[in-house]
């Protein structure tokens, strides 16, 4: 069986789109040197101002008012958290992965499609926030910055049809009877995902 993805030209174009961009050596160092040369910005000056030691004079009445505000904020926070979890606290919360997002290029070859969008864990499965752009020969692409993690996703073709990514691993299990794919973003280089319809 052949499809649009089997065309060698289209396959070459799609492969090129999926290739992760590689910065030239020394690019980071040059950018950081330029940043250091630049004059301090307003947020930077504000941060410096915030870090400087200051003495704040408060009357007893002002101090009491401040204490009341703080107590109210604390109570509101505890109440908000407790309402969701009356069962109490569990193990220590997981530490977030501190890493910059990688830009992932999603590619679908679908010449007959009128519209293609991406939906997944990264956009709350919205289906309208990440429309894909149609390129040459019906190749649809979208770039999405993703933090390290494992994400389920699917393509939404013509606003209603969920299509799995043939070039990506399928999600384990089939909870809702519609195809789902998986992309795992590590902490390193950008990784591309995509396939043809």
């Amino acid at each position: 069986m052949t499809g649009p993805g089997d065309d060698p030209l289209i396959a070459r174009l799609a492969a090129e789109l999926r290739r992760a961009p590689v910065a030239r050596p020394g690019f980071d160092a040059r950018v950081m040197a330029a940043v250091r040369r630049a004059p301090a910005s307003l947020p930077s000056r504000a941060w410096t101002w915030l870090r400087e030691e200051r003495t704040l004079a408060l009357s007893p009445l002002g101090g009491a008012a401040m204490a009341a505000v703080l107590a109210g904020v604390v109570i509101a926070g505890v109440w908000g958290a407790g309402r969701l979890s009356p069962a109490g606290s569990g193990p220590a919360p997981a530490s977030p992965v501190a890493a910059a997002p990688s830009v992932v290029t999603f590619v679908l070859v679908a010449p007959q499609a009128r519209s293609v969008a991406l939906a997944g864990d990264f956009d709350g499965w919205d289906g309208s926030r990440l429309p894909m752009r149609r390129g040459t020969a019906g190749i649809w692409t979208v770039n999405v910055p993703l933090a390290p993690g494992r994400y389920d996703y699917a393509f939404v073709v013509d606003g209603r049809r969920f299509v799995a990514d043939p070039a990506a691993p399928p999600a384990t299990g089939d909870d809702f009877g519609r195809p789902t794919s998986v992309v795992t973003v590590g902490g390193g280089a950008a990784r591309a995902a995509g396939g043809s319809l």
């Binding site: 992760a20 590689v22 915030l50 870090r51 030691e53 200051r54 003495t55 704040l56 408060l58 101090g63 401040m66 703080l70 904020v73 604390v74 509101a76 926070g77 908000g80 958290a81 309402r83 969701l84 979890s85 009356p86 069962a87 109490g88 606290s89 569990g90 193990p91 220590a92 919360p93 997981a94 530490s95 977030p96 992965v97 939906a119 864990d121 709350g124 499965w125 919205d126 933090a147 390290p148 993690g149 494992r150 389920d152 969920f162 691993p169 399928p170 999600a171 384990t172 299990g173 909870d175 809702f176 009877g177 519609r178 789902t180 998986v182 795992t184 590590g186 902490g187 390193g188 280089a189």
Partner: protein
């Protein structure tokens, strides 16, 4: 009073409830009964160290795909159970992405005991990619035990995360060309897999320590 201390105190006292913010994402996407049931699952799972984000995402996936409430709640419960088993195996310090990958591995059939052994062997190294590769291999038809042992074997060799992904891709290619899934993983393990060429020499990020 010192302004810095005051700012710090205010930041500490700010109401922070990520779980509540997550549940708010369900508003308008599922009916009230389904929302209440999902909130109950999120709430009860929290005590087991299961984060709200993947559970809410699962509910949103179901809503987007037009599933009915019962099916959405069943899927969220199943995911919560998998994530709970992964949390128990990986420990309280596991990151959310690691936990999600662990849950996928558990669902794929990798035993929590095996994941626990892996954590004991690599207590400080992130296991997100190894666990994700295990789940992905099983999804391609590789038996769970073979997938788990293959990845663990490569980890013992001290390979990078990117090399594990390259291994998975090689196995996928072999399967697509007609090789039996279990055999493809075993053969790739014996014959080696292309290593990443984009990493600079001497770069040892994500490199796992070699263990006997």
């Amino acid at each position: 009073m010192n302004v810095r201390k005051l700012t710090f105190a205010l930041l500490l006292a700010a109401p922070a409830s990520p779980a509540r913010a997550q549940v708010e994402r369900l508003t308008g996407r599922v009916d009230e009964a389904t929302r209440a049931a999902v909130v109950a699952v999120v709430d009860s799972s929290r005590s087991a160290g299961v984060p709200a984000v993947p559970l809410v995402n699962k509910a949103l996936e179901g809503a987007s795909k037009g599933a009915d409430g019962a099916r959405i709640v069943a899927a969220v419960r199943a995911l919560a159970a998998d994530l709970g088993r992964a949390r128990a195996a990986l420990g309280p310090a596991a990151s959310d992405p690691e936990l999600v990958a662990g849950g996928a591995a558990v669902r794929a059939g990798v035993s929590p005991a095996f994941i626990g052994t892996l954590r004991a062997r690599y207590p400080r190294e992130p296991l997100m990619v190894p666990l994700a590769v295990m789940a992905d291999l099983v999804a391609r038809g590789v038996p769970a035990d073979t997938a788990a042992e293959s990845v663990a074997s490569l980890m013992r060799e001290g390979v990078r995360d990117a090399d594990l992904v390259a291994f998975r891709q090689s196995v996928e290619r072999d399967i697509a060309l007609g090789a039996p899934a279990g055999g493809a993983a075993a053969v790739r393990l014996l014959t080696g897999t292309p290593t990443t060429s984009t990493l600079t020499p001497g770069d040892n990020t994500n490199r796992l320590p070699r263990k006997p």
